[in-house]
Symmetry: C2
Subunit: 202 residues, 2 copies
C-alpha cells in the first residue's frame, strides 16, 4: 500500500478551535509531523531552532526565496515567514504525514504546487459559538472582536476550495475525523497505482 | 454535515476474503444496510423474502426491467438477478449507507448511473495467499482451481476503476479501512455544499 506520507493542509479561522484540535493531534499522532516554518523574526525565549521555527537572517531568507527553496512565503510586520520545501519533502518521503497549518491564501497556493495534497477546513459548529469563542479569547475591545468576526466569516467563504470540511463541535470527534481522512486518503487507488505489482499479482 | 447515506459498491474476486469482511461489517455496523437483490430463483430453505432476496416471478421481474425499477440486472442459469432502485434510494434517504456487493461489470454500470457512489475493491495480500484461499475452499479439482485463479486475476485488472483499494491481510484492519473510507467520504466538501448555511454562517 501507499508508503509515502501525505501533505496535509489545514486551515480554519480564529474561533474554530483549530489550535486545540491540532495540538491534540500533535500529542497523539506519531505518524504526523508538523511543518516547521522559516522566519527572520527573533527567537522568543524558549523557542528552539528547527523545532518552533528555522531562524534565518534576512539575507539567508532572501537567498531561499531566490533559490526556490520555499513553497510559499509572506512578509509580515517587516519579518519574513515561509514554508521550506525540503522539510516537507523529507518528511513525506520518510513516510510521515506532513501537516501544514496555513491561512487560506497560502493553502490555495500550495494546492497549485502540490495538487496531491489533502486540504481540510475546520469550521465552528455555529455562528453563536464562533462569536463566543472569539469573545472568550480575552480582553479585546468590541471593535477588535467585530474585526475578528468579520475576518473569520470572510475566510470561511473559501471552504469550497478545500477537499474536506470538519465541523469542530467536539475536539475528540474532530481529531478522529482528521485521522479518518488521512487513513482513507491512503487507500485511494490513485495513490496506489502499482498495487497489483506490490502484492505480486501483475 | 452530510446526512444522507452513501451508496457503497464493494467488489473483490473469490479468494480475497471479501465475504468474511462484509459479514463482519454486517454484524458490527448498524449504520450500514446491505442491498437486497431481486431474483426469480426459488427461495432456499430458511431464506426470507425481503431479507435474503426479494423473490419475484419471471413476469414480475420482467415488469421491473420494463419499468426501469432495477439499477442493474443479469440473467444467470435461467434466473434473473437484479438490484432494485427503490431499496437503495430509500436506504440512502433514511440516512443509512447502502452497501452493494457486486462483481466488476455490475459495479461499473452502477458508477455510470450513480457517479456519487463510493467504490471499493478488496484485494488479497499476495498471489500465494489468493491461491491458498481458493484451494482451501474445499474439494475442487485442479482444473476448477485454475479456472477460479484465472477469473480472480482477470477481475483484479479492473481495480483501477475503483475509488479505493483495501488489501485484506487482516480482517479487522480491512473492516476498519472500510469504516474510515465511509466516515471520510461524508466529510468531503463536495457532499457538504451547504455546510455554511447548515451551521448558520451564510
Amino acid at each position: 500500500m501507499f508508503r509515502e506520507g501525505l501533505l496535509v493542509v489545514v486551515s480554519g479561522p480564529s474561533g474554530t478551535g483549530k489550535g486545540t484540535v491540532l495540538s491534540c493531534i500533535r500529542q497523539k499522532e506519531n505518524r504526523i509531523k508538523f511543518s516547521v516554518s522559516a522566519t527572520t523574526r527573533e527567537p522568543r525565549s524558549g523557542e528552539v531552532d528547527g523545532v518552533n521555527y528555522f531562524f534565518k537572517t534576512t539575507e539567508e531568507f532572501e537567498a531561499m526565496i531566490e533559490n526556490g527553496e520555499l513553497i510559499e512565503w509572506v512578509k509580515y510586520c517587516d519579518n519574513y515567514y515561509g514554508t521550506p520545501k525540503k522539510y516537507v519533502a523529507d518528511t513525506i518521503k520518510s513516510g510521515y504525514d506532513c501537516l501544514l497549518e496555513i491561512e487560506v491564501e497560502g493553502a490555495l497556493n500550495i494546492k497549485k504546487i502540490y495538487p496531491d495534497c489533502v486540504s481540510i477546513f475546520i469550521l465552528p459548529p455555529s455562528f453563536e459559538e464562533l462569536r463566543r469563542r472569539i469573545e472568550s479569547r480575552g480582553t479585546e475591545k468590541p471593535e477588535v472582536i467585530e474585526k475578528r468576526m468579520e475576518k473569520a466569516l470572510k475566510e470561511m467563504n473559501y471552504v469550497d476550495r478545500y477537499d474536506y470540511v470538519v465541523v469542530n463541535d467536539d475536539i475528540e470527534k474532530a481529531v478522529d475525523s482528521i485521522r479518518y481522512i488521512l487513513a482513507s486518503e491512503k487507500l485511494k487507488f490513485s495513490r496506489n497505482r502499482d498495487i497489483l505489482k506490490t502484492i505480486g499479482i501483475s
